[in-house]
């Protein structure tokens, strides 16, 4: 779900080695290097910045929010992390990653060229070059490989990211707990407290529980339109809320309304159960979207006609559950499901669940 992005992550920034130890990343790098050998690549360059941190974080644990970064992964051996960090902060940035060789970039083109030369690179794979780095920075970095053979490898890395490891699931469970607690706080406030005040209470709960960031969308009136919590300042009657919580880089969502039980809320619950019962490895995401359709009611505008998507280091990962989606469910997909209906009498209702696609079927988290 897209929300207003704050100017800085307001929560905890730390590498939790108990939850995500270095060997978790080493295993990921091993898989990537195996794929690189199959693809005859010498080096993989993985970009991240405020535009998108997920690919870079997957290989480094580094959440690039204020600084841009670039991991250079050789076909064998350890990666090198280049960071566009300020001179004074580089020591702190080093504490956030398992990669031992972290270098502060002064001249992006020259440093990347040196790294590629040291690694003996002729065939270079690029991840996140199109969408995760400002074009102005990419233009400088890309002078380093303009004469080399390059290929876009983003899809392959994102396919690897799609399969969640047990450790990733453990981290996401913490994000889910934060998100659901915050949702409970936001929806349970009595009238007289504004949505804005209730949102700040929900934020405090998540941030004090160790979340790195929290995003909230909440309605101002009864029309189903939602606003970032930075702007919504109305009463708490008929609240529609979206909460996204980031924990150690991983996201979870919780949605809901405080509408009283009604015929439409029962229909939404039934449709969600129908959807979960139909989740099977190999099933078409487009077909799933049709199965959960409820006739006679409008869908909630901010859900954009989707029943959810994969979630992890990105708020929106593969697959997408909507009519027309070409994707099929795979083992270890982690899905954030959202189903919303608008009833002209009782207002909007939303059901949300997080589901792991296990070998034997869906597991509710």
């Amino acid at each position: 779900m897209q929300t207003l992005t704050p100017v800085v992550m307001r929560g905890r920034a730390a590498w939790d080695q108990a939850l995500l130890p270095a060997d978790e990343f080493k295993l990921r790098i091993n898989s990537i290097q195996q794929q690189m050998k199959d693809d005859q690549l010498d080096t993989l360059l993985v970009f991240g910045s405020g535009l998108g941190y997920a690919d870079l974080c997957y290989v480094s644990n580094y959440v690039s929010s204020l600084q841009w970064g670039l991991a250079a992964i050789p076909s064998s051996g350890d990666p090198i992390l280049l960071l566009g960090a300020r001179a004074g902060s580089i020591e702190f940035q080093r504490t956030l990653t398992w990669i031992r060789d972290v270098r502060r970039v002064s001249d992006a083109g020259a440093m990347t060229k040196q790294v590629l030369s040291d690694l003996g690179s002729e065939r270079v794979g690029i991840v996140g070059g199109l969408d995760c780095i400002p074009s102005a920075i990419y233009a400088r970095v890309s002078t380093a490989f303009s004469k080399l053979q390059t290929s876009n490898q983003s899809k392959k890395i994102r396919k690897l990211r799609r399969r969640k490891s047990p450790r990733e699931i453990e981290v996401i469970k913490r994000a889910i707990t934060c998100a659901r607690t915050s949702r409970g706080i936001l929806l349970s406030h009595e009238e007289g407290v504004t949505n804005y005040e209730a949102s700040t209470h929900a934020e405090l709960s998540a941030l004090k529980a160790g979340a790195s960031d929290i995003r909230i969308l909440v309605n101002k009136g009864d029309d189903g339109d939602v606003y970032p919590a930075e702007e919504a300042r109305s009463h708490t009657k008929n609240v529609t809320a979206y909460i996204g919580v980031m924990y150690l880089g991983y996201w979870a969502e919780a949605l809901g309304t405080n509408a009283a039980a009604s015929e439409v809320s029962s229909l939404a619950t039934e449709a969600m159960e129908r959807l979960i019962d139909s989740l099977k490895i190999g099933v078409s995401c487009s077909e799933l979207a049709k199965i959960a359709k409820v006739s006679g009611y409008a869908s909630i505008p901010f859900l954009s006609g989707s029943l959810g998507c994969g979630i992890g280091l990105d708020l929106a990962e593969q697959p997408t559950l909507r009519v027309g989606s070409p994707e099929i469910l795979e083992e270890n997909d982690l899905l954030s499901l959202r189903l919303g209906l608008v009833d002209s009498k009782s207002g909007p209702v939303i059901e949300s669940r997080t589901v792991l696609m296990g070998k034997k079927g869906p597991v509710l988290l």
Binding site: Q2, P6, R10, G50, L51, A87, S135, L207
Partner: protein, 375 residues
Amino acid sequence: MAFDRKEITSRLLRLMHSNNTGALIAFSNGIATIADTDAIWSLTRYRAIGKTALIIAESGDEKLIVTPKWDLHRASACFDGSKIATDDFEAELKNELSRMIIQGNVAIAGKSSIDNLTEETIRSLAGTKNLIDGDIIVRELGKIRSEDELHSASRAAGIAEKGYHKLLECASTNMYEYELAAEVSSYMRSLGSGDVFQLLCASQHNLYLHHPTNRLLEENDIILAELSPSVDGIFMQACHTVVIGEVSAELQKNYDLLIRAFEDGLDEIKLGRTVGQVATTVNKRIEEAGYKEYCRPPYTRARGHGLGIGSILPGDITPENNTVLEEGMMFVLHPNQYLPETGYLLCGDTVKISGGHAVRLSETKLAIGSVSGEK
């Protein structure tokens, strides 16, 4: 004066004409930074969630392209011109750029947030037209803060002062940095701050300022807090240092030095002087105290900076910056400094230039804070 989009657009068109610019494409992808100008916000007061472009042709023809589609209601509240909400940004951008008759150069603003995909779309449609830097134009338009912006900044300063008092009230041993950060930022949000930029950390000897971590606060810790709340999109920044326990004589001496450097800088801020003169004056006080080598990276980068989302001008407060100070400019002045005896210390406030000289936005006297460790 309140934000007047028509007046801004009119000034923009005049600047475009004088620069032989046939069209300006302002872009935002919703990734906001306090360190740069948000071109869409600057021209419309709409803070984008997703990829958003405002195309303004020299003829006055304009179009706002908004994503995601469902955010049209927020955009409409800020922008009364022609607009379209879509979930296919690139397609709509192509449509509009093909439709508009553009002669002369094409200026692009919001370059720091443009991804390669979007830039390639613009380049392919611009054809042989020159692509020029539109950020210069947009920053120039917003460098003099309007009365409503200064009013919002003053309100934000009031929130920051209350946030600082919240920090003094909450800070104690046996709490984590991130818990303290959460208390302060959420409190400022509850007082009406929109977005909050906040860095907060603590140590017995800080080497630099960073995001809050798992560190447990201890007796004699020095807490660094850069508090930057915003009201109606206008950020201000206040920089504080707080000790858990008693302030040692050495720490007090060093902090007094930073306060004097701040005051020197404040006195130097006058119409017609340059930003570089202000930075040099701040540095002089600290250099003369024997810390010359600490007045440059990696210990210190700048003596303050403009506050982004709106115009980032007058830019970083560094000796090399020759921007001439003008009435209505606003920036944070902070002689934040690593000193070998006491570590990194924060000291600073946002100032506006009013009546020809600098006026601090906060009312609180600059001083090092002190709290008891046990609560």
